[in-house]
Symmetry: C2
Subunit: 243 residues, 2 copies
């Protein structure tokens, strides 16, 4: 049995998320259906993690077992010919049987787009969070850098998660701005449920002066109520997964 | 009579361009209709220039005469409430009666997005030109810099234009790349019909080795056939107009 690793981009706008729901295939199921149409094999694909409804991916990774001898360099175009236009397979390789998209992952990088303007944007509307308030960008940059390190990020987790160990390491944070578009990127060894969206919401609340505490105080409080709001899903991109 | 200047962003994907066509209002007509709905005045708006079908804008400028005393700071939201989501008014000011969006313009800056990958992108599909061929980015950068200056750009004009003086000055060119996304920007005192799209097509043809001549030779030939193809409209953005 071959173990096939694929890298996928998607615009999550029209999906219930990575995982299947009663009334929708999800991105995972949509790809499984395309694999069936190409190979007539009913495979189960494993993603590096679930993405929520509306979240996008620039480099989601998944793997699956396959009997078919189709060459790996033919797989992306073959699958893309069956996939809807908002999902695209952009890489494919055969990997050792030990490779597991989720358990083998060493880290992830996310991107989040904020459109900071009094007025809506027609260009980035489906892929960015529209923040109308004036934001203190310099302050957001300064506070965002404090996120780098190993901390108990318990406060930055939505309820409903059964995760016990809430210590995570953030390796890198970047915040850049070009005109009205703010690009936040964060890389770490793992992220709690909704953690990136709460990090963004917290930075936005700091930028508009709603949160006065500094980032160390917020982290140390280990309380969801001390962090900012959960930024919406449609500004978030899973950018890459490291193995 | 007040002279009102507005700055507009739009996603041109669903439009026949700036100008009205027999079966479509165009962007101009859509904005005029919104102005009518707000003020009950039938105004004619003047754009800094027409954009073709599918071309986007981050900073198109237009002006119009208005009787209504509606404050300028109320105009963007008032119009946006009537406009479709792919058009947005992002600035508004009252200007002297001498101001004319087209004749007063001193220069323009355009942006063009190229998605350079073997596989399609779901994220940027409606706003970028998908180039599947491998491109020599360094060579494209080097050749693009030669565009800066005052030249007869006659070759970089589509037929059907009645323009006689084809000398234009390009002040600035930038070409950057982040992963698969190449961003080309060009600023000049004016552009011939389809000039930016032909500049991009020429750079792409240079990057893939289809054109061997250097940019000076191409400019000097003053012949459309020595330049590259016309890159598609949907990768092009009118970024700003200088006055």
């Amino acid at each position: 049995m071959r173990n096939i690793k694929i890298e996928i981009q998607y615009n999550g706008f029209n999906y219930c998320g990575w995982q299947q729901q009663p009334d929708s295939l999800g991105i995972q199921g949509t790809i499984e259906k395309a694999i069936y149409e190409i190979t007539r094999e009913n495979v189960k694909i494993t993603g590096s993690g679930r993405t929520d409804a509306g979240v996008h991916a620039l480099g989601q990774v998944a793997n699956f077992n396959l009997m078919s001898s189709i060459p790996v360099d033919k797989i992306p175009n073959a699958l893309n010919s069956k996939l809807p236009k908002d999902i695209s397979v952009v890489k494919c390789e055969e990997v050792s049987s030990k490779f597991h998209s989720r358990y083998s992952a060493q880290g992830k990088r996310y991107r989040y787009l904020i459109h900071n303007s009094m007025y809506r944007t027609p260009i980035y509307k489906d892929i960015s969070y529209h923040v109308k308030y004036e934001l203190d960008f310099e302050k957001m940059c300064k506070e965002s850098k404090k996120l780098i390190g190993t901390y108990d990020f318990k406060g930055f987790m939505s309820s409903g998660s059964s995760v016990k160990d809430t210590i995570r390491t953030i390796y890198d944070v970047s915040l850049t701005k070009e005109e009205n578009l703010i690009v936040f990127e964060v890389e770490g060894n793992g992220f709690l449920y909704n953690m990136v969206r709460i990090l963004v919401g917290t930075l936005v609340d700091i930028g508009r002066g709603r949160i006065k505490e500094d980032m160390f105080e917020i982290i140390n409080a280990k309380s969801r109520s001390k962090c900012g709001h959960t930024a919406p899903a449609h500004g978030l991109f899973l950018k890459k997964v490291d193995y």
